[in-house]
């Protein structure tokens, strides 16, 4: 069964149609990229999937369950985790504390006033594991707000992973990054996809990243569906070329 099924969703803001009748199906283990020129509705589409907005029309199914009307936190409990286009972390807390919070939530401890020694050990080791995976070991006890943009992005991705999601949604993971940072993040996403068999949907501007990572690509333009296919098919697609060239001209 498909992990994520989006059926004909639309989102209107007054008279503005931000997302117009878009459908998408993501299979388990797939890495799907969503691309499109600025204002194509990519982030709005993401926000509909994760519950930031409720769609004006259409339904969203996650693992067969209709999640259209669920609050964001409940969708997280179902197994969706996301990052944001503009990094969203807890700036005055350390990397370790930033990661500890989602690990505790994912362990079902969010209402606990008390942890046993054993639970505490388990959480600490999971946090250390994530810190290492994100390449953040030497910065683990620094406030996230003081770290470089790239490290903040990495922290945010690890926070999403801390939830042990079945679907990871990344909104422009390499936005505002230098070449080395972009490379590091790309390798991280690749490892998550290949080694951990994680299903990932990502929005991305950097075409090198998209074509390097994606199994399938969906193209949006002005809130509408434009094309979908493998990276080769998309690269050869006339309509896609026009949309991008038209924007550049």
């Amino acid at each position: 069964m498909s992990l994520l099924q989006v059926k004909n969703v639309s989102k209107y803001f007054g008279s503005l149609v931000a997302v117009n009748d878009i459908s998408m199906t993501v299979e388990p283990g797939e890495l799907r990229a969503i691309i499109g020129p600025n204002g194509a509705g990519k982030t709005t589409f993401f926000n509909l999937i994760t519950g930031f907005f409720t769609p004006s029309a259409g339904r969203i199914f996650f693992d067969g369950q209709d999640v259209t009307d669920l609050l964001p936190a409940r969708r997280v409990w179902c197994g969706m985790a996301r990052t944001f286009q503009v990094t969203e972390v807890f700036p005055e807390l350390t990397v370790r504390e930033n990661l500890r919070i989602p690990v505790e939530v994912a362990s079902g401890f969010r209402l606990r006033a008390w942890l046993s020694q054993a639970d505490d050990e388990k959480i600490r080791s999971r946090v250390s594991e994530l810190i290492e995976m994100g390449g953040l070991t030497v910065k683990a006890d620094r406030q996230v707000g003081e770290l470089s943009h790239g490290d903040q992005r990495a922290t945010e991705i690890m926070m999403a992973l801390a939830l042990r999601p079945r679907l990871l949604l990344l909104d422009e993971p390499t936005a505002g990054m230098g070449d080395q940072e972009t490379y590091d993040i790309t390798q991280l996403i690749r490892r998550l996809h290949k080694d951990n068999k994680l299903t990932i949907v990502l929005i991305e501007h950097d075409m090198r990243v998209v074509f390097h990572l994606a199994d399938r690509i969906m193209v949006l333009d002005q809130g509408k569906f434009l094309a979908e296919g493998t990276p080769e098919e998309i690269a050869a697609n006339k309509a896609v070329q026009t949309a991008y060239l038209g924007q550049a001209a």
Partner: protein
């Protein structure tokens, strides 16, 4: 990290030592025990407010409502029902907590200034009830005709009415328990979700924290301890009047928290100490004492935006 940990322990030790020995040194430097009692009771109220303000990031401008409900709950229990100090404290705390729990769902969806405004509005409702309902609350004259009763433990009785030290230590024990519970909660997984909400509500929500529910819980905990402080305040004065419920009282709590430093655990207590001592000293000099407190507050906010304790901590850290 290690050095900071030691500093924290030293600070805790210093605070407790000062509080434990207060009845012995305060009179020596020109104070009196009741002043210390006021600092602890109002400090508890400000620390309760700060559980919500400093550690959840939600500003309530109506905490006097629950403070006053605690005070009236305690006073009216002793006056009308059972002349028992313990029961008075219990009923006062319960009344304030239940009121907070019921009002909570109506306001936890609001944010920022809207939350603050609606908490004021609810607070004023209780103020007018206390003000108008003369036959029960004593109206503007306040609830009189009762005093705190001796504590009866069966095998022994402690006269907290005539023995100021006994009453001081009773208050200190209750304060220690309340503050201990708050500190413990803040270091728990639940407490960390509150920090998460303060730091970045959107991120918290998308990490699976049902933010409104957690704010409600933080609000109820905060209301519980502020009404406990209110109950103690009534016992301290042997009297309650509607000003304990008035919105300016809520403002005083916010001033205490911000003055001392709302990102530090002990900050609001320091703020309360400064506030109470300033009030005590200035009000004997001038009727316009509040102007001076206000001026002092403005200066602190301008030059030490993290409060007195925040500024000290920064100096120690650098």
């Amino acid at each position: 990290m290690g050095a900071l940990g030691i500093n924290k322990n030293t600070a805790n030790l210093a605070v407790w030592l000062l509080l434990l020995t207060l009845p012995f040194w305060l009179p020596a430097i020109g104070g009196y025990i009741e002043l210390g009692e006021r600092v602890i009771v109002l400090g508890l109220a400000a620390m309760s407010l700060n559980f919500l303000l400093g550690y959840t990031g939600v500003l309530s401008f109506g905490h006097a409502a629950y403070f006053g409900l605690g005070a009236y709950g305690a006073g009216m229990t002793i006056r009308y029902l059972v002349p028992s100090t313990g029961l008075g404290i219990l009923v006062g705390t319960l009344v304030g907590t239940i009121a907070g729990a019921l009002i909570g769902p109506l306001i936890v969806r609001l944010r920022g200034v809207y939350f603050a405004m609606v908490t004021i509005a609810f607070g004023q409702v209780f103020y007018f009830i206390a003000f108008r309902w003369n036959s029960v609350t004593g109206g503007d004259d306040g609830l009189t005709g009762w005093t705190r009763m001796p504590l009866n433990f069966g095998f022994t009785t402690i006269d907290i009415l005539h023995n100021p030290r006994a009453f001081y230590y009773l208050i200190l024990v209750i304060f220690a328990i309340a503050v201990g519970v708050m500190a413990w909660l803040l270091r728990s997984p639940f407490g960390r979700t509150l920090l998460a909400i303060r730091e970045n509500e959107r991120r918290a929500r998308f990490l699976g924290v049902p933010v409104d529910q957690h704010i409600w819980m933080s609000w109820v905990i905060s209301c519980c301890f502020v009404s406990l402080a209110g109950a103690l305040y009534a016992l301290l004065n042997n009297f309650v009047d509607p000003r304990a419920l008035y919105w300016t009282q809520s403002g005083d709590f916010v001033i205490m928290a911000v003055l001392g430093g709302m990102r530090s655990f002990w900050g609001p207590l320091i703020g309360a100490a400064i506030f109470v001592v300033l009030q005590d000293y200035l009000s004997s000099q001038t009727e316009n004492w509040m102007s001076f407190v206000g001026l002092f507050f403005v200066l602190v906010v301008l030059f030490f935006p993290r409060g007195i304790l925040g500024a000290i901590r920064r100096r120690v850290a650098s």
